[in-house]
């Protein structure tokens, strides 16, 4: 542990940060910082100077034009996260776009959210009083008669007023009708189930919370992707640990990594060892002690530790799990002692967690260390001394001795003039750089990145203004050997930026930043290299690829002559992408080859076939997994088996007529047709063609099931199961989010599972109510019920399908296409319909209750529900 004999000169002043201006553009570029005499320097011939920055570093050139998917896309659908458009007032966004950075405070669309609540959860909002006042509200169109008028009011007129008001939105001369005004005055205090003021407060608070997390979400700090290097240095296999699953609640430890032949891309081998956890994984941390890897996993209220043994092929074993009452904000694994971790919670507590001895609280201080900052975020990491932990909040870092945490501590880093910080600068991620040098630490802020040495606290050894758009939440160190530079990768979450910095020194010589900082490919950057997609698919793909990053890992591969750095990036959608950087040894050669290897963005993709194949496969997997999830049929039985539909194809054939008669009789009696026994001589014309295709596509199986009479059972199997599953998933998600909220709030009711039901009820509003599956199928009588026009008995096909004829039969507009699809299927040779009607064909007209993805394509349905 040598200390550099001389450090770069610098001023040292204590106090709060003085620099008032924002970050100067390109600060630090083209600068040497300071110079220091290099070498022992007693003899004058050797007198040379080295700069603090600007020395020549290693040249790492990207081998591909963009990041390449490493794993197939996760089968489950990814729910896009909240966007500013969802909770901001629309006019504000537009105005902001025009005027640049005009408004300081964002205008949250409070009224929209509140109205969504009233519309989506009427039972929660007005349940009991609604029932009480049921008799006194009249919803009809006709005028009220005298005796009824005494204790009932006509609400239809009010509704009309409200609609008119809505139409005049934005009009300066809009005024409230007196009727509306008195109604609101009269009802404001008692109509609502939840007191309006309280509800408003909660909604507002929730909105602010969501907005804050949209601006900066610190929960994924540290990253949830970890690479466990191979046990013996020569092997080309290692483990990748990443979260997967629908809610990112599966810890996947990919056991093997195929031999990475350097010309090729890394491939995965075998299936991952999966552990289902009780919450969304926020962070995965790992360290190797005594040849064994210890993997720590943090979700909001649980932290767990796994051991991945050194033997090849041995399964990872979970060791211990702890539960916290306040969300945990940090989990780091000790690189010194096996089974030791540091845990921080948002209440300001720092624990040393040992698998053997349990938790030891080192500090509990809800206040920040150096000045007051509202953020409850805390971080802790290990230092060169196994019993000394660094402990950070937004204002700086302190080192605590676990043996006497109250007495023994010193300040390692302070946001202030000591480190030349700017005003408003805050610590974003500290990291122990023990693998590069035992006493070095990395601290990133939203503006700069610092390298600190714990032997000379407060004075940064290095400082670099990183100029990333979003604060770097992830960092990864690839230590360089003797004489080589250490590579530090920084990653931002929301913008997916990746930055590669190199530095060297720390023991024999002072720290120097070498080489220019380098921006690496982001996941979203590969969009332009993918084959052209249909517009709506393109949009989905864009959304998917632009999902915020959730983790970062890297590994150095050495093979024969060439070295390459593999960088993995995880997105919140669960995609893991990978890129390779190759080390150019020969300096003059590097210039030309670098130009070839990294084409400028926008130029034609220069992909080797392997990468192109990888993309194609990934896209295929994506469209398969997330294209259109199966949904229950939303066409009621009435539609399938109306008289005209049965009559149409049946035509005048006597056999058909007989079959039809038999069916109708069975239905009238309420029994099922158990045996279909047609007249012996001819085989029945209708059911036969259906049967061979029975097992092939959903429509055929369904029709076959219907014909056989156990349609109800088919429905049960097909829907209620998945419905129950989905309800369970929804409930589960709601519970999770409620917990994540961390406090009891009324706004939690926003995430109520009632959402699903309300959507169902909307669905039924849109058309005739779907029949419940357990009721026996009822066919319309011969004398058609009031409201539906008499159906043409043997109308020609096109007349039946024309929209006019559909309209005159009282079929709502949005159902007509579905019906047409069905009928066309019916009219053609039924066995092999070109498309299963449950998928694309009926998509636009079915109010999608489950699929968030397709709801995105319908502007009316795109309603942010808070908590989702």
């Amino acid at each position: 542990m040598e200390f550099p004999p001389a450090l770069f000169p610098s001023y040292f002043t204590a106090g709060p940060p003085r620099e008032e201006r924002g970050p100067a553009t390109a600060a630090g570029w083209g600068e040497h910082g300071q110079v220091l005499q290099a070498g022992p320097g007693r003899r004058q011939a050797e007198r040379s100077f080295v700069p603090r920055r600007g020395g020549t570093g290693e040249s790492w050139e990207p081998a591909d034009a963009a990041a390449v998917p490493l794993l197939p896309p996760s089968a489950s659908c990814w729910v896009p996260s909240l966007t500013p458009q969802d909770i901001l007032y629309r006019g504000f966004l537009r105005r902001k776009g025009r005027a640049g950075r005009a408004g300081a405070a964002p205008a949250l669309d409070f009224t929209r959210q509140l109205s969504h609540f009233f519309v989506d959860h009427p039972e929660d909002a007005f349940g009991s009083l609604g029932r009480l006042l049921h008799k006194n509200f009249y919803l009809g169109n006709s005028r009220l008669t005298k005796p009824a008028r005494d204790n009932a009011i006509r609400v239809t007129a009010l509704m009309e007023e409200i609609e008119r008001l809505e139409a005049r939105r934005g009009c300066p001369r809009r005024y409230l009708a007196s009727r509306l005004r008195w109604f609101s005055h009269l009802c404001r205090d008692w109509l609502f189930e939840v007191p309006l003021g309280l509800l408003g407060d909660c909604v507002h608070e929730e909105l602010l919370l969501q907005w804050a997390s949209l601006l900066f979400d610190d929960s994924p700090t540290g990253g949830a992707l970890v690479w466990l290097p191979p046990k013996d240095a020569g092997a080309h296999t290692g483990c990748l640990v990443y979260p997967g699953g629908r809610a990112m609640n599966h810890l996947c430890i990919l056991p093997d990594f195929q031999d990475v032949v350097l010309e090729e891309l890394p491939c995965t081998q075998g299936s991952p060892a999966q552990f289902e956890l009780n919450g969304c994984i926020r962070q995965v941390a790992a360290a190797r002690v005594d040849g064994e890897d210890f993997v720590g996993v943090r979700s909001d209220y649980h932290c767990g530790v796994w051991r991945v043994p050194g033997r090849v092929g041995a399964a990872p074993t979970p060791l211990q799990i702890i539960r916290t009452s306040v969300p945990a904000s940090c989990l780091t694994v000790s690189p010194h002692l096996p089974g030791e971790l540091a845990v921080c919670t948002q209440s300001g507590a720092v624990y040393l967690w040992s698998v053997e001895t349990g938790l030891q609280r080192l500090r509990h201080d809800p206040q920040t260390m150096f000045f007051r900052d509202h953020s409850p975020w805390r971080w802790s990491d290990f230092t060169a001394h196994p019993r000394v932990l660094s402990c950070a909040d937004r204002t700086g870092l302190q080192c605590l001795d676990a043996r006497a945490p109250e007495r023994c501590h010193f300040d390692l880093f302070k946001v202030g003039e000591e480190a030349g910080c700017q005003q408003g600068e805050r610590v974003v991620l500290p990291m122990y750089l023990g693998r590069a040098h035992p006493s070095q630490h990395l601290v990133t802020t939203q503006f700069s990145v610092y390298v600190l040495d714990e032997r000379l606290p407060l004075v940064p050894m290095l400082k670099w203004v990183h100029m990333m758009k979003a604060p770097p939440l992830f960092a990864h160190l690839t230590p360089g050997g003797p004489g080589r530079s250490h590579k530090v990768l920084l990653g931002a979450s929301r913008t997916q930026e990746l930055l590669l910095l190199q530095y060297r020194g720390g023991s024999q010589s002072a720290c120097q930043l070498v080489g220019p900082p380098q921006k690496l490919h982001s996941i979203a950057g590969c969009l332009q290299h993918l084959p052209t997609q249909l517009p709506h698919r393109h949009r989905l793909l864009q959304q998917r690829l632009a999902a915020p990053a959730a983790g970062l890992a890297a590994t150095l591969q050495e093979d024969r002559l060439q070295e390459s750095l593999l960088v993995f990036q995880l997105s919140e959608a669960g995609d893991v992408f990978c890129q390779r950087l190759t080390h150019e040894v020969a300096q003059p050669h590097a210039v030309t080859s670098g130009d070839e290897a990294a084409p400028a963005p926008g130029s034609s993709p220069l992909f080797d076939p392997a990468a192109a194949l990888r993309y194609r496969r990934w896209l295929k997997g994506l469209s398969k997994g997330c294209g259109d999830p199966p949904r229950p049929p939303t066409i009621s039985q009435k539609r399938l088996f109306t008289r005209k539909e049965l009559e149409g194809p049946a035509g005048p054939s006597p056999l058909h007529r007989q079959a039809w008669r038999q069916l109708r009789q069975a239905m009238r009696e309420g029994v099922r047709i158990q045996h279909w026994d047609p007249p012996a001589p001819q085989p029945p014309a209708l059911p036969q063609p259906l049967e061979p295709a029975g097992g092939l596509d959903p429509l055929s199986t369904r029709l076959a099931a219907t014909w056989c009479g156990d349609w109800g059972q088919w429905w049960e199997e097909g829907t209620s199961l998945s419905l129950a599953q989905r309800q369970r998933a929804l409930r589960e998600r709601r519970r999770r989010q409620k917990r994540a909220r961390g406090r009891c709030s009324l706004s939690a009711s926003f995430t109520s599972s009632l959402t699903y039901q309300s959507e169902l009820s909307e669905l039924s509003d849109a058309g005739p109510p779907p029949l419940s599956p357990d009721r026996p199928p009822v066919l319309p009588r011969e004398g058609s019920p009031p409201g539906t026009s008499p159906a043409p008995s043997s109308a020609p096909e096109d007349a039946l399908l024309s929209s006019q004829s559909l309209r005159c039969r009282g079929i709502p507009k949005e159902r007509r296409k579905t019906l047409r699809d069905y009928l066309s299927v019916w009219a053609e040779d039924p066995p092999e319909p070109t498309e299963p009607p449950g998928s694309q064909a009926s998509q636009p007209c079915i109010p999608s209750s489950q699929s968030q993805l397709s709801s995105a394509s319908q502007p009316r349905r795109k309603r942010p529900r808070m908590g989702f």
Binding site: F3, L7, G30, H32, Q44, F49, G291, L456, P516
Partner: protein, 356 residues
């Protein structure tokens, strides 16, 4: 902005020449008055890194005489830095001439003009360096040069004062190098051991993991005072707490020697006990695991020997580390391991007393 990007491009462009760079920088200097000093300083750095010391000196002298209105605090700092670097270059030319002079003296010549020039350089360098050292900061190379100048002219008191100020002034950051320079200065001048120890004691307090701790430990062990030997044990235990010292043979050797000495003499076992008490819950896993035994044995036999001795005494002869190493050692028929085994077996009761 233009300056920064432009410089960056010129620095990394393969075909740019020094001439173009100079022309560009000159333009930048006239462009922004506020940045003038900063640009000058960076220009000088650029020249220095390319070994053009004389040109850099010219730039610095030009910048030193630049005046424009009232100086802001930042400009003031930059000016001081410019002067300091100029002083540094003066120092280099001084030491160059000193070497010439010494060579000449060796040959029997005396050159008055060189001597005079050398004195001139000294005066300029001393004035400039002295200024910057007064400001709080990290001034390792300036302090070193200044002390060298003072020492050459025999002004030891001044040098000592400067070093003391640099090390102990609370306005300065706790720079371990400041203490190292002071210690080296004291050592060079044959100061009594007491003052050396006190200088190192302070260094130990701020950086227990400094590489000088081995020197400190040997110095303390040689001492006759019990208190100092006690401190020596503390120092070496504390150094070995750090991850960076894990595989340092010298340090383990120091510890093994001292432990052996204490055990054979039978006195002061309580010292070991006290040190061990705060470490017994984590040192076994940190230093004496079976995995480490295997690796140390493979990589560095002498390290494993030293560690095994310490492990055997602190943890008893049944400890995994000792067992593995002594077993391997006996298998390999290395004599020192047999001695080691015998020693540990003989003093096994000590372990009981320490752990008890």
């Amino acid at each position: 902005m233009i300056w920064r990007i432009g410089t960056e491009i010129l620095c990394h462009h393969s075909h740019s020449s020094m001439k173009e760079f100079n022309a560009f920088i000159e333009q930048m200097k006239t462009l922004g008055v506020k940045r003038y000093l900063k640009v000058c300083l960076e220009h000088a750095f650029h020249l220095l890194c390319r070994g053009l010391v004389d040109e850099a000196y010219q730039i610095l002298s030009a910048a030193e005489s630049w005046r424009f209105g009232e100086q802001t605090a930042i400009q003031d700092k930059e000016m001081k830095l410019i002067q300091a670097y100029k002083g540094l270059l003066d120092y280099y030319s001084w030491s160059k001439q000193k070497n010439i002079l010494l060579e000449n003296e060796w040959d029997g010549f005396e050159d008055l003009s060189v001597e005079q020039e050398m004195h001139g350089c000294f005066r300029k360098a001393a004035v400039n360096l002295k200024e910057i050292i007064k400001m709080p900061g990290v001034w390792d190379q300036f302090v070193k040069c200044y002390v060298d100048l003072l020492e050459f002219y025999g002004d030891h008191n001044e040098a000592r004062q400067v070093l003391n100020e640099y090390a102990y002034n609370s306005k300065f950051p706790a720079n371990p190098n400041a203490h190292v320079y002071l210690y080296q200065f004291l050592k060079r001048h044959g100061e009594p051991r007491k003052s050396l120890i006190s200088a190192l004691k302070i260094l130990h307090d701020i950086v227990p993991s400094h590489e000088l701790m081995i020197d400190f430990n040997t110095m303390l062990q040689k001492s006759k005072k019990r208190k100092r030997r006690r401190l020596g044990l503390e120092v070496i235990f504390a150094a070995l707490d750090y991850a960076g010292w894990k595989e340092n043979v010298k340090a383990w050797n120091c510890l093994a020697r001292q432990v052996k000495q204490i055990v054979t003499s039978g006195k002061h076992l309580d010292w070991i006990k006290e040190e061990w008490n705060s470490r017994k819950d984590w040192w076994p896993a940190f230093h004496f695991s079976r995995y480490l035994a295997k690796r140390n044995w493979q990589e560095n036999e002498s390290l494993s020997c030293e560690k095994a001795l310490v492990a055997g005494i602190l943890l008893g002869k049944d400890c995994k580390y000792f067992k593995y190493v002594s077993h391997q050692g006996c298998k390999a028929r290395v004599k020192r391991f047999r001695i080691l085994k015998k020693f540990v077996n003989k003093y096994n009761p000590v372990y009981l007393r320490i752990s008890g």
